[in-house]
Amino acid sequence: MEPFRRLEAVAAPIDLPNVDTDRIIPARFLRKAPGPGYERYCFHDVRYDGEGRERPEFILNQAPYRPARILVTAENFACGSSREAAVWALMANGIRCVIGPSFGDIFFENSFKNGALPIVVDGALAARLRAALHAAPGASMTVDLEALVFTGPDGATHPFQVDAFRRECLLRGQDEIALTLSHEDDIRAFEARQAQEMPWLEVKT
């Protein structure tokens, strides 16, 4: 996993609440393996028309926002399906950080596993940031995970919180499976205890 430390990039506002992961990547693309061309699946059905032409009204199709690597969203962004492909599709477009008032719980987890950073902010602040990004198309923001501070398009800085364990994993690009396997003794002890106390959970094959 690629570590995440500091990101300075153009930010784009997404105003719609309850953007579901089906919208971020329609289900028919879930059978495609990540690789060249994957970026096209991101927001596909709202980004392209039936003939595959860009819809000019979609924000990431507008010139100033094209290089965006940060999204500022409305509430409950990426709700719905557990598809990790929603994170892959955003990342294939360069998006590494999403700032919003709330996120789908599974998307939130999936982001950290892939080196992307979701930041939860107050709803009023998210609305102000989105308005500022509309007012200054192509404005940049800076997200500093080491300092736990991001800078808005107006240059104002805002502290944010990320759970310490997740932050460590992101900063280091930690392989979680390797970390877990380092606790083999604990897992084995748990399994022995469970076999004793809850023997009905053993499955005979």
């Binding site: 105003d15 719609l16 609440p17 309850n18 579901d20 089906d22 919208r23 329609p26 289900a27 028919r28 879930l30 059978r31 495609k32 393996a33 990540p34 059905d45 709202v46 409305a74 509430e75 409950n76 709700c79 719905g80 399906s81 557990s82 598809r83 990790e84 994170v87 709330s102 996120f103 789908g104 719980d105 599974i106 987890e109 999936n110 596993k113 892939n114 609305a127 759970d163 310490a164 364990f165 460590e168 979680e176 499976i177 877990t180 396997l181 606790h183 604990d186 897992i187 748990f190 399994e191 469970q194 809850m198 023997p199 009905w200 959970l201 499955v203 005979k204 094959t205």
Partner: protein, 469 residues
């Protein structure tokens, strides 16, 4: 805070599964059961690439459901990319010694239907699946939740997951369900009340007399849609209904082990006075047969209502959201919901494809005639057999409904089963998102009885108002 020592159902299950506490408020949690479908291709690939093995393969069951066709002519799609998803699972599971219910095996079906049906799902366990509707298994008093494919790979290799304890929400459903109000109407009513993000960061315990009075199939419908309220897990306390359902199922404990398990299960319900971070009460007496009008499950309204007006929205953001939804759905504010014509009906999905659901739909279809294409997709091969044994397939066929093979079908629309662009469906599934049932398809969520009523009238219909057949 609760008095010391008082614990919720959730806390009891959680505490029994902590392998290791820390760092911080993280726990390494042991996972008792894992369900796999074809969607985890990348997890299988990474596991193989890392040279890793399943830690406890006997604790997983794999089955194709998302990418199989429900066409009686054959489950395997002629489309190579779709078929490859099924083939990949078929090729991967045996090499890791994972039990596989193949195409042609009557035990095959939707993962969230077959786990309980096989007794693989049990009270007091932790269960995960790479699918957001995994909360379904909470109906049996299990702690179950959906995970992404990185976490799927993690469970494959370690049988554990790093988790932080979510907040606890209790939703008590009181009163008495009026005639015609199904479990689907109860959960849609709950989602409408707390919102599509209302349960985010929470685990929901469903409680109260209406939940206690539900059959297991009904409880599964309720728990299934927890994610539609934002909650990864939702569950209800196990009780005699649960035990009667489980006893004798293939993976359920037998003999002495059953007695031991039962003694443990009876300790699971939340202690009187245990604290919840949030308590919600819904009076079922106030519910009516329900449909959704928009592209979020929270847009649920009684069938007697009208399409809402965006000018009534609380703020500009909400108003824009409503306008977008009405535009996609092709609806005009003020239209009575019961006047909305539909092009197609789908009865199925992990929400509503069990025997109780098929019986409820058949009771409406009996002696009537579908006026639009209407599919009935049982949740598993065993449900299909049981339904046929009591003649439900005959009732549906005589009424002009199509009786199909088990699978996720038109709920997810990635297996060849989709509606056509612009078509409007009445669907017993769980999501009405844009494009969910096919590009440009407009989905109205409702109960099996309401879906059957829509099939025989060609419009969204108050099932209570249907005259004699």
């Amino acid at each position: 805070m609760s008095a010391p020592g008082l614990r919720t159902l959730f806390q009891k299950i959680w505490d029994r599964h902590v392998v290791r506490s820390g760092p911080g408020d993280w726990s390494l949690l042991y996972i008792d059961r894992h369900l796999l479908h074809e969607g985890a291709t990348s997890a299988w690939n990474r596991l193989a690439k890392g040279g890793r093995r399943f830690r406890r393969p006997e604790r997983s069951i794999a089955t194709p459901d998302h990418y199989t066709s429900t066409d009686p002519a054959g489950a395997l799609s002629p489309e190579p990319e779709i078929r490859a998803m099924v083939d990949k699972l078929m090729a991967s599971a045996p090499g890791q010694h994972v039990t596989l219910f193949r195409v042609g095996d009557a035990r095959r079906g939707i993962v969230h239907v077959i786990g309980p049906e096989q007794g693989f799902t049990q009270p007091g366990i932790t269960l995960v699946c790479g699918d957001s509707h995994t909360a379904t298994h909470g109906a049996l008093g299990a702690l179950s939740f959906g995970i992404g494919s990185s976490e799927v790979e993690h469970v494959m290799a370690t049988q554990c997951l790093w988790q932080r304890r979510p907040k606890a929400m209790r939703v008590r459903v009181t009163g008495t369900r009026p005639f015609g109000v199904a479990a689907k109407d109860v959960i849609l009513g709950i989602i409408a009340r707390i919102g599509a993000g209302g349960g985010t960061g929470h685990a929901i315990e469903y409680a109260g007399p209406v939940i206690a009075g539900m059959t297991m199939d009904e409880r599964m419908t309720v728990a299934n849609m927890s994610i539609e309220a934002g909650a990864r897990s939702g569950f209800m306390a196990p009780d005699d209904t649960t035990y009667a359902y489980l006893e004798g199922r293939p993976y359920a404990p037998k003999g002495d082990l059953w007695a031991k398990a039962l003694a443990y299960w009876k300790t699971l319900p939340s202690d009187q006075g245990a604290a919840f971070d949030r308590d919600v009460e819904i009076d079922a007496s106030e519910l009516l047969p329900t449909v959704t009008w928009g592209t979020s499950p929270e847009t649920a309204l009684p069938i007697t209502a009208r399409v809402p007006d965006p000018s009534s929205a609380a703020d500009a953001g909400r108003r824009a959201g409503m306008e977008r939804m009405l535009g996609y759905m092709g609806l005009t504010p003020g239209t009575p919901l019961a006047e909305i014509r539909v092009d197609r009906v789908f009865i199925g999905s992990c929400t509503n494809s069990r025997l109780d659901d098929l019986r409820a739909a058949a009771a409406v279809a009996r002696g009537r005639r579908a006026v639009v294409p209407a599919w009935v997709v049982p949740g598993s091969g065993l449900i299909k057999q049981a339904a046929e044994a009591e003649g439900l397939d005959r009732i549906f066929r005589d009424a002009g409904f199509e009786w199909r093979e088990p699978g996720c079908s038109m709920c997810v629309g990635i297996n060849g089963d989709t509606a056509k662009p612009g078509e409007r469906t009445a669907s017993t599934s769980n999501r009405n998102f844009e494009g969910r049932q096919g590009q440009g398809v407009r989905t109205h969520l409702l109960s099996p009885a309401m879906a059957a009523a829509a099939a025989v009238t060609g419009k969204l219909t108050d099932v209570r108002a249907l005259g004699p057949a």
